[in-house]
């Protein structure tokens, strides 16, 4: 009897320490030129946050029952009525779940963060990184609406915060279409209409003097995994506080017909005390990807800046 009692406990402990790895026995189809075929429209929406919430600090994985409760609570939270009591309160509060597409599930591994390394599920900021980010936040508070440069990149329609690289789940339109031709993998990103074209021919990166918002990507295949290395970032996109010297390694592996497992590792010694890695399952989607013409309909920038000038004039 004692033995019987212990078996489920042991299984539970084993799952706790290390969830089953993705099935390694899946063999993806091949493209005509012999690349593992990762083409299609993929969506990375999930309720699982990038970093482990403080409330789950000692809980790397949920049980299935906890996951179901978490999903239910998250959906209710997203759907709650944020509007104020009167007609003059901010209309932005009227957004409910109908406006968003954050997904309705946590990741299948039931991990409580997308970050898999370090083990605490947190971005390992260095002291230097924290200081620089605090200074940037202080500047932003004092100059929030001085000019277009002081607004958030998505408000300016320059770069969607989650479109990548690296690619994270966003509040909506987390859609990506992958195309493969001999020597290239291309990723069309819905937000806010970006295309990453990744050469596979081992050519050198652009010179260090040439910087790009999306960096400069080079790819190669390691077995069935597409490995993409990206550098040459700008000092303006600052992914999670990183500097222009950030180096990114992404790994794309089709782990079953309908799942593209996406892992990325971020290195930037000026910001992080060690490299950190996240893993995000991307689900096959029927598509299509729509045109997100952001800048062409940008009322946010003139609205925010113009409103601030009106307020300043009224305060005089």
């Amino acid at each position: 009897m004692a033995q019987r009692f212990w078996i489920p406990m042991l299984i539970g402990a084993a799952c706790w320490a290390a969830p089953p790895p993705p099935p390694a026995n899946y063999t993806p189809p091949r493209t005509a030129d012999g690349q593992p075929d990762i083409q299609g429209v993929w969506n990375n929406a999930t309720l699982t946050p990038l970093e482990r919430p403080a409330a789950m600090a000692s809980k790397p994985f949920l049980t299935p029952a906890e996951a179901a409760a978490y999903e239910k609570q998250a959906l209710e939270q997203n759907n709650r009525d944020r509007r104020g009591a009167d007609a003059t309160s901010d209309l932005a509060g009227a957004y409910n779940q109908a406006w968003f597409d954050r997904g309705s599930k946590v990741v299948p591994s039931l991990r409580t963060s997308l970050i898999v390394d370090p083990a605490d599920g947190k971005i390992p900021y260095s002291e230097e990184g924290q200081k620089r980010m605090a200074a940037a936040a202080e500047y932003a508070r004092a100059h929030a609406t001085d000019g277009p440069e002081d607004l958030a990149l998505p408000d300016r329609c320059l770069l969607w915060a989650t479109a990548g690289p690296p690619m994270l789940p966003g509040p909506y339109n987390s859609n990506y279409q992958i195309f493969q031709a001999p020597g290239y993998v291309a990723i069309a990103i819905e937000m806010i209409h970006e295309v990453r074209i990744i050469p596979l021919d081992k050519r050198p990166h652009l010179p260090g003097s040439v910087r790009q918002w999306l960096g400069d990507s080079r790819g190669h295949w390691e077995g069935n995994t597409l490995v993409v290395e990206t550098s040459n970032f700008t000092d303006k996109s600052h992914f999670r506080g990183a500097t222009a010297n950030m180096r990114l390694t992404e790994r794309f592996t089709r782990t079953d017909a309908n799942t593209l497992t996406y892992e990325f590792t971020v290195e930037d010694p000026a910001t992080f005390s060690k490299p950190w890695t996240a893993s995000i399952p991307m689900a096959k989607s029927a598509g299509p990807i729509y045109e997100y013409a952001c800048h062409e309909g940008n009322y946010a920038v003139p609205g925010i800046l113009g409103g601030a000038r009106k307020q300043e004039a009224a305060a005089k």
């Binding site: 005509a32 030129d33 300016r156 279409q177 209409h193 970006e194 050198p204 045109e291 013409a293 062409e296």
Partner: protein, 264 residues
């Protein structure tokens, strides 16, 4: 003409059969279609004005010769774009106000066919089911569906593209446009009834013959056609780079809203 044909035949005669096929029909994909993969760019002044035009001063005096309009022989079959009389009035007003009205000034998506002959390269990524065209200008992109998904679900700047092969020509039917894009810097424009049929045909390995026929009953009296060659960019390690021009138009579009406007 005859001399050119004779020279071309002579040079082909010296090539082995397989190389001859490549020279005339261009490279092939694994499924036997013309291989359009590559980075391409026009060498024409069509983006200034689709119709023939002499050189002229540009709209920005401080730019001097840099901002002047280079001359172009025109790419419109039959020279003239067949505007309805009232639409021609709009086109002329567009030109007169081009600094304010040309969507290119504001870094807006270029539409089709203008994306093709912007002075920037574009890359074709060809698969049997979808053909992606990624344009360097403004991160514009379009997916050509090789299987018709049905009517365009919404109007858009780049439209919805549906392709099929007619022999060795990729024919792309583009519909679902909004009425916001222009054809060039000369104020040539269309309505949301625009329907474009493009034809892409390889001539050898490094030249793509491009044709586009425009039909728009609200603006033109009949369909009209443009054509031009597009050339393969052959620099070693050539790649599309970023031209995220939104950043470059913020002062123009939003400078008036700054806390401290420039020059004040």
């Amino acid at each position: 003409m005859i001399a050119a044909a004779a020279v071309s035949m002579l040079s082909l005669a010296a090539l082995p059969a397989a190389a001859q096929a490549t020279a005339t029909r261009g490279p092939r994909t694994a499924d036997g279609k013309p291989n359009l993969n590559g980075i391409w760019q026009v060498l024409t002044e069509a983006n200034w004005d689709l119709q023939g035009h002499a050189a002229a001063a540009g709209p920005m005096i401080p730019l001097g010769a840099i901002g002047a309009m280079p001359p172009g022989q025109g790419v419109v079959e039959g020279e003239e774009i067949p505007y309805k009389p009232e639409a021609l009035v709009t086109k002329k007003a567009n030109f007169a106000n081009r600094l304010k009205l040309d969507p290119e000034v504001k870094c807006y998506l270029p539409g089709v066919p203008r994306a093709t002959y912007m002075p920037f390269p574009f890359q074709i990524v060809q698969t049997p089911q979808f053909i992606l065209i990624s344009y360097e200008y403004a991160n514009a992109a379009r997916t050509i569906y090789m299987k018709d998904p049905g009517p365009a679900p919404v109007d858009s700047w780049m439209g919805q593209s549906v392709g099929h092969w007619e022999g060795d020509t990729l024919v792309v039917d583009v519909t679902g446009f909004n009425d916001q894009s222009w054809f060039d810097r000369a104020g040539d424009y269309h309505s949301d009834a625009l329907h474009v049929v493009e034809r892409y045909t390889l001539h050898g390995a490094d030249t793509l013959m491009y044709e586009a026929t425009m039909e728009d009953k609200n603006v033109f009296t009949r369909p009209w056609k443009i054509s031009m060659p597009v050339y393969r960019r052959q620099e070693k390690n050539v790649q599309l780079m970023e031209f995220k021009c939104v950043e470059f138009v913020e002062e123009l579009m939003y400078g008036q809203y700054r806390k401290k406007p420039a020059g004040k």
